[in-house]
């Protein structure tokens, strides 16, 4: 998995609450059997004036000019500034795949839906949680300054603005460790194979109906 340590980059906005995963990557793109290539269809219905089709070239599609991420000033954004409950709805990991493929390394929001939040960490995409007030400050600064950048430091768990704000954020120790080191979580779990086998043997003895029925 891709590691995340520190990142400094241009900030782009998604200024609405409850952005759902259907909005992040509409269903027609879930037919792919690949993990990559979803970036051109990120926010497809908000971003383009026509209806996107899987596999179609997006480079000449008509853009919705009022969608902020289409503004020239946000071109190349690598940090998405968002509102609360970002990523609600379906469990599709295509949502973080699309954000990552588009070029985002991190999202900053006051809160996330649980499954989306979890999926981000599997893909080297850091979902930063700041307070609503802090997110408001960042939105105001971003709107006031073209080319607005932020610095995110995972080891110290901080977001730093050029104006001098340093905002701390929380995250679980194990998630931080996996992200910092780009660890293979399956490999880590398999180091516990003996524990898993021991648990399984005990469970099979106590609850035998859980095993063997489906063949």
């Amino acid at each position: 998995m891709k590691a995340f340590t520190t990142h400094r980059g241009l900030v782009g906005p998604m200024d609405r609450a409850n952005v759902d995963t259907d909005m992040i990557i509409p269903k027609q793109f879930l037919k792919s059997i690949k993990r990559s290539g979803f970036g051109p269809n990120l926010f497809d219905e908000l971003r383009y004036r026509d209806e996107g089709q899987p596999g179609a070239d997006c480079s000449n599609r008509p853009l919705k000019e009022d969608f902020p991420l289409n503004f020239p000033r946000y071109k190349g954004a690598s940090i998405l500034l968002a509102r609360k409950n970002f990523g609600c709805g379906s469990s599709r990991e295509h949502a973080p795949w699309a954000l990552e493929d588009y070029g985002f390394n991190a999202v900053i929001a006051p809160s996330y839906a649980d499954i989306f939040y979890n999926n981000c960490f599997k893909n080297g995409l850091l979902p930063v949680i700041l307070t609503e007030e802090q997110v408001d400050v960042l939105f105001k600064e971003m709107e006031a300054e073209e080319g607005y950048q932020l610095a995110i430091d995972l080891p110290s768990q901080t977001v730093t603005t050029d104006s001098g704000h340093v905002f701390s954020f929380e995250l679980d120790e194990f998630r931080k460790d996996c992200l910092l080191n780009g660890l293979d979580e399956i490999g880590l779990t398999l180091q516990n194979a003996d524990d898993i086998k021991a648990y399984e043997a005990e469970r099979a003895a106590q609850h035998p109906w859980v095993f063997g029925a489906i063949k």
Partner: protein
């Protein structure tokens, strides 16, 4: 020591290892697989040279992108006209064949929407941990399972290790006491709960639904409620075991028989929250306050009683709410203050993992019987949740009732709930839908979804607009 909640018990009994960094390794009993979120997981397994940890834990079926049209379905996977979808279903078949995973293939008896199929085959049983690469996996919690959706990386993780790295959630209890009135269904109860706590209300929590309303509810009704826990932000929704749970499980294909069944029942009967268990969050509603519900906006929390009106901009408490409402009304093509019953519908969809079981089919048929779809309605799709539901409905003659009323009786699948196949709304069309999400574009680019119960959706099909089924039921037949 304080008592334990149902969730605490399920968590404790699946804990393989508690790590020093606060994470835990949790054992997974049942893994349900479908075509959309699994191909990348199987590919990852192969790239890392790994194999599934266990085979008798997995059960697979195609459901999300398959056609519900009989002539296309009769041609099987090879006859799927959408080439991209065909490759995805073929990939599921190939992966299951390669590893020896039990799959109910496209037209086999047993095939169905993953969350209809699992319980009806007895593949999910009380006390199990159940995961699937689909957020509506909480459905299985109706059988007192610890069930939740996972992403594709975790599908691969479960295939390879039979475990997940997890962090324990908080406990929430949603209590609804009293007796619901006529015409008020499990769908209305869960929509009312979402309306009260909001789409993020259950974030970081596992919800247990408790109180007389859920005790009185059938198991299928409890599935409808648990199914939509995710729409209240909770990955997990559960109802404790009672005699109904045990009666539901007995005799199903993968449920043990004889002595082993008796042994299982002794354990299943322990799957309730202790009387002195403490919940981190308590939510209480009363049955008397719940009328048939309809969503008017673009989030499941944008919901009202059918007798109400669409909210107005000036009654919004915050600027954020005002902006959200303004955007939703614009998308939905509605005016603040407009009566919900004045909303005309262009299409009707009765199906999805929320409402496609036999009781849902019966409820819709009871309204449709002897009536006709309004001439202004372009299409009414009735999509049973599984081959077994379809066969049962046909045995009861429900298909005839629907067809006589001018409705389309289809083949099982997810269909217009997420519109990955050809069943979709056109831009600007309003749909009375028994599915679970009314997000922008969910049922088709520009489509406008109104979530409601099967009886309400059938009534809307006949009336041509949203209508209170309680008054409708007494009308002319």
């Amino acid at each position: 020591m304080a008592g334990r909640t149902l969730y605490d018990k399920l968590w404790d009994s699946h804990l393989v290892k508690q790590n020093s960094d606060g994470s835990s390794l949790i054992y997974i009993d049942r893994h349900v697989i479908h075509e959309v979120t699994s191909p990348q997981a199987f590919e990852g397994l192969r790239l890392a040279n790994r194999k599934p940890w266990r085979l008798d834990t997995n059960i697979a079926t195609p459901d999300h992108n398959i056609s519900t049209d009989k002539s296309e379905r009769d041609a099987g996977v090879a006859g799927m006209t959408d080439e991209v979808s065909r490759i995805q279903v073929q990939t599921l078949d190939d992966n299951c064949d390669l590893y020896g995973i039990k799959e109910f293939k496209i037209n086999e008896m047993g095939q169905g929407i993953v969350h209809v199929m699992g319980p009806e085959l007895g593949a999910t049983m009380p006390g199990m941990t159940v995961v699937c690469g689909d957020s509506h996996t909480a459905t299985h919690g109706a059988l007192a399972c610890l069930a939740h959706g996972i992403g594709t990386s975790e599908v691969e993780h479960v295939l390879a290790t039979q475990c997940l790295v997890a962090k324990k959630m908080k406990n929430m209890r949603v209590t609804v006491n009293g007796t619901v009135g006529a015409g008020v269904t499990p769908k209305d109860v869960v929509l009312a709960i979402i309306g009260k706590i909001g789409t993020a209300g259950g974030n970081e929590h596992a919800i247990e639904f408790a109180g007389s309303v859920f005790r009185d509810m059938s198991i299928e009704g409890r599935m409808t409620v648990c199914n939509m826990a995710i729409e209240a932000g909770a990955r997990v929704g559960m109802v404790a075991v009672d005699q109904k749970t045990i009666d539901y499980c007995e005799g199903r294909q993968f449920v043990p028989k004889g002595e082993m069944f008796e042994q299982a029942v002794v354990y299943w009967n322990t799957l309730t929250s202790d009387a002195d268990a403490v919940f981190d969050t308590e939510v209480v509603l009363h049955a008397d306050d719940i009328a048939p519900q309809v969503t008017w906006g673009t989030s499941p929390e944008m919901v009202s009683a059918v007798t109400a009106s669409v909210p107005t901009l000036d009654e919004q408490p915050t600027e954020e709410k005002r902006k959200g409402l303004e955007r939703a009304l614009e998308y939905m093509g509605l005016e603040g203050g407009q009566a919900i019953e004045s909303i005309k519908v262009d299409r009707v969809f009765i199906g999805s993992c929320t409402n496609s079981r036999i009781e849902d089919m019966r409820a819709a048929a009871a309204v449709a019987k002897g009536r006709q779809v309004a001439s202004s309605v372009k299409q009414v799709l009735i999509v049973p949740g599984s081959q077994m539901v379809k066969a049962q409905a046909e045995a009861e003659g429900l298909d005839k009732i629907f067809i006589d009323a001018g409705m389309d009786w289809r083949e099982p699948g997810c269909s217009m709930c997420l519109a990955m196949n050809a069943d979709k709304l056109g831009a600007g069309e309003h749909c009375a839908s028994t599915s679970n999400r009314n997000f922008e574009g969910r049922q088709g680019n520009g489509g406008r979804t109104h979530l409601m119960s099967p009886a309400m959706a059938a009534a809307a099909a006949v009336a041509g607009h949203i209508v209170d089924v309680r008054e409708f039921a007494g009308g002319d037949q």
